[in-house]
Amino acid sequence: MKYAYYPGCSLEAALAKEYDLSVKAVCERLGIELEELEDWNCCGASSGHSTSYLLNHAIVGRNLAIAEKQGLDIAAACPACYVRLKHTRHEVMEKPDLKKQVVEAVGMPYEAKHDVRHLLDIIVNDIGIEAIKEKVTKPLTGLKLACYYGCFLVRPPEVVAFDDPENPQSMDDLMTAMGAEAIDWSGKVDCCGGSLALTKRDIVIRLVGELVDMARAAGAEAMVAACPLCQMNVDGRQSSGIDRMPVFYFTELVGLAMGDKGAKSWLKKHLISPVKLLNSHGLL
């Protein structure tokens, strides 16, 4: 099982290095081979599609064309990159005129032959919950988690669609298999305000506050994310106080449950330290 790995800028540039490291460690344990997408470029995120339809699809198209040259499906870690890559492939397949424009702008052939997958999808649906469960050596017993999917793993359903758009389950199933308790809550697919993180601080603080309140009211001790923007917002934009809620990357917890030695160093990168919480359950 081999994929062209698209880490995206956040994972590469140290903003979410702990996500990158835990993704690589977990994939190695699960037999998922990641060959980095050669000379990949930034997907443009919300600034690309918000300002230029064609530019957005062209800069994303370069990455898709490279994956095709590499002959591999893409495995993306960041859902914001994932949805952009998925969107462009979807649009190009539906609109021959756009395909022509993208190919012309990029200067590389592209036939949309290869799919784009998110690592959560690959881990849960290709490797399978049962197979992963067998590798658990240190179950996360007693840990109450709110699985936070955010926007782009599940939306828009006709473009991404590996889980339910309103009440997804894949991360809950995975965390349950790791021995943790995945609580039911209503913030699973709510937006953290990612694209306004640097421009509208007050809005993001409000959205993050609502998410954490919901998670806490449902009985969670921590949140689990699959997105660097979600993780960074919840980690960095909670109002100060002693009861701030830690937020993990799902791969950190899978690695921890499999006894990966790297786990401690990943967790040191968090702004809100989860060490006390994990110690209280005897998990570190």
Binding site: C42, S52, L55, G107, P156, K269
Partner: protein
């Protein structure tokens, strides 16, 4: 035949009959299917901060209220979270409509009520054109200068630097020439130089 005038609190609102057609054509979205059920606005995470809700923006586009729409803060506050897209009973891709409105506003150089977000988007695209990748620290410093907001996020910024999350230097792809060519070929206004 007498014409219909649209009036709001400040008087008669200018109507541009070609605008609705333009938005429908560029976005490819069948806006006329909207029957104002408000599902988009009810689920929108930023509707409390918007001057006009998503359903109102759709209605204003239908009516041709170009100036009002392109000047609204709402079109820029839209996060692109796709909640409305997933829930619209008429399958209107509202995000595609918002993107179309933002692109028209940029191309027509509209200086509307929201000034910071368009500057952010331009500043975000610039390092992609030059390096092929995002340069977070550069982006943050540039925005501080542009908005003259030096202290709001200083604490968070320092914490992130201490955790090694904001490298000082940008990384760069090999295909920078190809990136510049892509930007130049498309000639997008947004992908141009910084202000």
């Amino acid at each position: 035949m007498s014409s219909i005038r649209i009036v709001d609190g400040s008087g008669v609102v200018p109507v541009d009959n070609a605008f609705s057609k333009q938005v429908k054509q560029v976005s490819g979205e069948a806006l006329d299917r909207c029957y104002q059920c408000f599902t988009c606005s009810l689920g929108c995470p930023v509707s409390p901060e918007m001057d006009y809700y998503p359903d109102q923006i759709i209605r204003m586009v239908q009516l041709g209220l170009k100036e009002k729409v392109l000047n609204s803060a709402g079109i820029w506050l839209c996060l692109g979270c796709e909640t409305c897209v997933a829930r619209c009973p008429n399958e209107i891709d509202i995000l595609r409509v918002m993107d179309t409105l933002r692109e028209i506003a940029i191309n027509e150089n509209v200086k509307g009520k929201e000034r910071v977000i368009p500057v952010f988007h331009k500043a975000f695209l610039y390092p992609i054109k030059i390096f092929g990748k995002q340069y977070e620290l550069g982006l943050i410093l540039y925005l501080m200068l542009k908005t003259k907001d030096f202290f709001g996020d200083l604490g968070l910024g320092i914490k992130m630097i201490m955790k090694g999350k904001l490298p000082f230097f940008p990384s760069r792809i090999k295909g920078t020439k190809q990136m510049k060519e892509i930007f130049n070929k498309i000639g997008s206004v947004a992908g141009g130089e910084r202000d």
